[in-house]
């Protein structure tokens, strides 16, 4: 099988299990984001792929070949560190050429490759600059160029954009994605920023407490979260208690949702629905009704906070598609079945 395969990879530090039995297949040319809160084991997993940590259990395979015991410097992977780790005593060109120098490539070829890479990261003519004279974004590009110098089999990035300001970060996300598509290189990025993951990834791997919670394309993660952890971590969501009535129908707050199906064997569950999917109507007989507690009018969209079925539901809508209400009013809440995701408790 081509690409990277993780088979039951684990990492324990003393009594702490940082990564627990992770199995994942990353096909050749895929852009993967490892996403999760801090301490979820995503960086440890990336470091194991790079060979900087030895797994306590499991195997790593690249194109079907076991690389679990291969030393970092023999893996031919490119890695961008969170701190960037540019060598302070070398200039931009020397930093980028380091991997080529190690492999004993001729000076002229090194020079040609450095110019090529600098053009690729939009920094032509910067080869002679000292690294400490560069801006944050430029340092970032140099680190990327350095990691790509030998056309690695795998391109690994550990929170690469976290040191940049918000505007530059957004621009770099797009640029990084375009670069990856141009080179067709298998890329794994660790991030805690769900927006970053949604922008760049083909495959988002949501991690929590050392486990993979869900691995799926970004839209699927958003639309069909596997559990309430994923639903809460990716975007904002409303979680409502769902129960089964005597005739087996799904009930929220005493109101039957005819098209929502509770999985067999479950009497109670959670219903997840995104704020933009909650429809607001005039109060109707037999429908879910709540009381408006707060309005956040952002001009383009309005967030309506509604107390319904014992919790607060947030609905995001444009001014045109919602009834004109103020705090304290009663309002009808419709939960379209196609937007509802039933999650285990």
């Amino acid at each position: 099988m081509s690409g990277l395969t993780l088979e039951g990879v684990s990492k324990r530090f003393g009594s702490l299990t940082a990564v627990d039995n992770v199995t994942l297949n990353v096909p050749q040319g895929t852009f993967v984001c490892l996403l999760g809160p801090s301490g979820c084991g995503k960086t440890t997993l990336l470091r194991m792929i790079a060979g900087l940590e030895d797994p306590s259990g499991g195997r790593l395979l690249i194109d079907g070949a076991d690389i679990t015991g291969v030393a970092t410097h023999q893996r031919d992977f490119g890695m961008v560190f969170q701190s960037l780790a540019l060598f302070p005593h070398l200039n931009v060109g020397e930093n980028i050429a380091y991997a080529l120098r190690i492999r004993g490539i001729a000076k002229a070829d090194q020079q040609r490759r450095v110019d090529e890479l600098l053009a690729l990261v939009h920094l032509p003519g910067h080869a002679d600059r000292p690294v400490n004279k560069l801006s944050g974004g430029q340092r970032q590009r140099v680190a990327i160029a350095r990691a790509l110098a030998v056309s690695p089999k795998l391109f690994l990035l550990d929170e690469p954009l976290s040191a940049l300001d918000a505007k530059l970060r957004e621009a770099m996300q797009v640029e990084l994605r375009q670069l990856q598509q141009k080179l067709g290189i298998t890329t794994i990025v660790v991030t805690h920023d769900q927006r970053e993951a949604m922008t760049m990834a083909d495959l988002v791997v949501v991690m929590g407490e050392g486990h993979i919670r869900q691995a799926a394309p970004p839209v699927e993660i958003y639309r069909k979260p596997a559990d309430s952890f994923v639903a809460g971590f990716i975007g904002s969501t409303n979680l409502l208690d769902l129960s089964r009535d005597s005739s087996g129908r799904a009930v929220v707050g005493g109101v039957v949702l005819p098209d929502v199906i509770l999985p067999a064997g479950l009497d109670r569950a959670r219903l997840s629905i995104r704020p933009e999917d909650v429809h607001l109507t005039a109060p109707t007989a037999g429908g879910l009704t709540g009381r408006v507690t707060f309005l956040r009018d952002l001009g383009g969209t309005i967030e309506t906070f509604i107390e319904v079925a014992g919790t607060t539901v947030t609905a995001v809508s444009t001014p045109r598609e919602r009834p004109d209400v103020t705090a304290g009013d009663s309002i009808g809440v419709t939960l379209p079945a196609e937007a509802c995701v039933v999650l285990k408790q």
Partner: protein, 285 residues
Amino acid sequence: MRREPARSLSDHLPVIFPALMLLVFFVIPFSIMIAVSFFQREQGGFYTTDFVFSNYERFLSAFFGGVLGFSLLLAASVAACCVALAFPFTYFLTCRTRRVQIAWLVGLLSVLSLSEVIIGFAWSTLFSRTAGISNLFVALGLMDQPTALLPGFGAVLTGMVYQALPYTILVLYPALVRLEPTLLEASRTLGASPLRGFFNIVIPALRNTIVATLIMVFVFALGSYLLPQILGRPQHWTLSVLITDQAIYQSNMPFAAAMAVFLVLISLALVGLTLLVGGRKDLTA
């Protein structure tokens, strides 16, 4: 950071005390010594005020030149050995847990509390034929019979390296602790073995620290006069030994002062040269 230039007297206050200390305990004594080095020695007495170059002329002989050369060579060897031993040691120490690091540092600090005399006699015992480490080697079958490892250049060097090593480690430690650990990891991901990464990333990244440490140990070792006498033969005596001999036993203050001034000038020149060579690479880099 930009600072406002100091205007009133109170702005200068913080530097007055250190400046005063430096003046009273360094500038004035050193000036007196320079003055004395031009005085005329009085046979059987002390010295008379004068302005002669005879003390410096006497120094410019093959004998004193040889002693000066040996002193510089010994100090340079001690500096090189100390840094060569302390750098890898300190590097691996910083990779350990904090508890281990603290235990080692406390141990090293306690070595500093030993006086030079105790270190000298401890090593002279260790190197002796009757009770020294050669007996251990014989017991292990590495040697046929116990031998005296002193007096000799090796013994002097060992003693002085032992004495200067804790200083070296304590000076290198802060810089190595602050060294970004990902630098070496980055070199590994780029295809350098850990050893190769150590030599072409860790050491060059800390070049300034290494140069500063070499200079510190060099200057420290240049002033040593007890260990060469305890562990060495007369040909291993340093200029500091001769200065002490002239000043205390021969009562020739002017000549001792002249030698001391010469030693200071030579070591300042060497330090300056090292900084110049070290600094030039920064400009071209």
